[in-house]
Amino acid sequence: MFDEALRMEDIHLAYRDLVGAMFSKPRMLGYFRGVEMDPQKELISNVNLSVKRGETICIGGPSGQGKSALLRIIAGLTRPTRGNIYYFGEFIPPEKLTALEVAKRQVGMVFQNGALISNLRVRDNIGLPLRYHKMGSPAEIDEKINMAMDLMRVRDEADMFPHMLSVGMQKRVAIARSWAMDPKLLLMDEPTAGLDNYNRRNLLPLIDNMRTLFKTTIIIVTHDLMISKELDCNICFLHRKTLTDPKPFEYWLNTDSEISRELFRDLRNSG
């Protein structure tokens, strides 16, 4: 129980709730709405997942299965239609489950497109949450920003605007921004999508460093199955609306299930 970073019990998500939190509307409105019980209208149904502290887990599967939606549920951006979520053993009731509340539990998220604030320089992008939460004196914050930029090797681009950077660099800045907040649980949405092989090979050791040095729990949503092999972590699949048990890469490669036949055929053939 205490070494648990995240536990999801019986999560359901209807298509109607996919839009997510609208900051224009009071959050209680969705709470008092009728519950959708029709399984036909559900994108995700009956998902159970338990992640230990310091563990890295990959969520795979073909696109359009709701992997990113699952990650948005964990980050609190989308409220599940039904189900309970425990962060570090602490239950957050659904009426309080918002992204701000989840972020207080030191959960960070890296978006697929980086989602950097486009009118701030890289340095200020990384410093924004630190300054907002007043995490230390200005000198400490500057030091932290520099550390984060060094870790993700974006120090040379410190005074650039996000639109001047390539996609890979934006992603690295986004990871640096999440890291600077000292997350205990880091959610990554497609960290390697749109990266060439060279950048991808550079990025994976950085994730690995973070995992070993800072004992961060990482959940990676990806369709790049080789990540799980290279990071040596368990992988589970979102298949037919539910999540399979996490298993190592070799298990999926060798077993004879529907998922393995669909997704691992090319990998098997290439050896």
């Binding site: 209680m28 039904r82 960070g108 978006f111 989602a115 950097l116 486009s118 907040m181």
Partner: protein, 298 residues
Amino acid sequence: MRVTARRNWQKFTLPAKAFHLLGLFLLRRTFGQQIALFCRAIASIFSRNRSLKTDSRNIIMQTFFTGVEVFPVLFVVATLFGAITIIEAMSMMGRMGFSDFVGSMIVIVTIRDLGPILTAFLIAGRSGSSLTTYIGSMVINYEVDALATMGVNPIRFLVMPSLIGGCIAMLIMNIFFSASAICAGFLVTKSAIYLAGITGVSADMTNIQLTWSYLSTEILNAIDLSDFIFIIVKPLVFGAIITTNACYQALNIQRDVRQVPKAVSRSVIKSFLYVVVADMVISTFYFVDYMKNLKQLI
């Protein structure tokens, strides 16, 4: 969990249930949600994350963003509008035999009513629309979501500075509007009379006795305390309406780029509507005031 909440709701007593239903009814409407957004923005001023330096910088930047760029257009509009009012007042009132009321006419039209409304329209058209586009594209690019996952409250970070900055800019711009409508409007009228005189359009035009001392005395006689109160209250109310509406429409966009232009047009049009309605509500004060005076006379 959702089920227990519904069960709790069924356990409510009758007045509580009625209150609950009334609240839900209001909050499901756009208007109720906008008022809720306004209240959350005001409440977020006092949140734990406040820091005077960052907040004041954001607010000052927002004030400049709202006010400064609209100023040239506003100055021209105000000057010509003031000139038109002065010319109309001089010509119409004299013909109808109400020459003593020239000052009140100018005060009522420029300072009291149309000044704040025209300023609000200009600011809604220029700053409200750009605010909606700015926040709307942040919503589309998941930047607002990213802010929320970092624990930065978007309402505090985006809505609150624009709300306060918008109110301050609106107040300053309204004072500028009234001042330039009267002062620059007077100069334009004077030069129009002069030009008409020398070009021979109408030689009698030079006979119009329009002097600054006459105009200013008339205006100062006509103005009273309620005007000074309303010149502060009206712009604050209008500024709050415009910025809250703009931010609401922007945050209400549902991940679709085509919704951004729609939200912008909704923001501007609804701001116009709400401003006129609010002006109507505020203006009933004068009506009540008039009725009171009437009773005393009788």
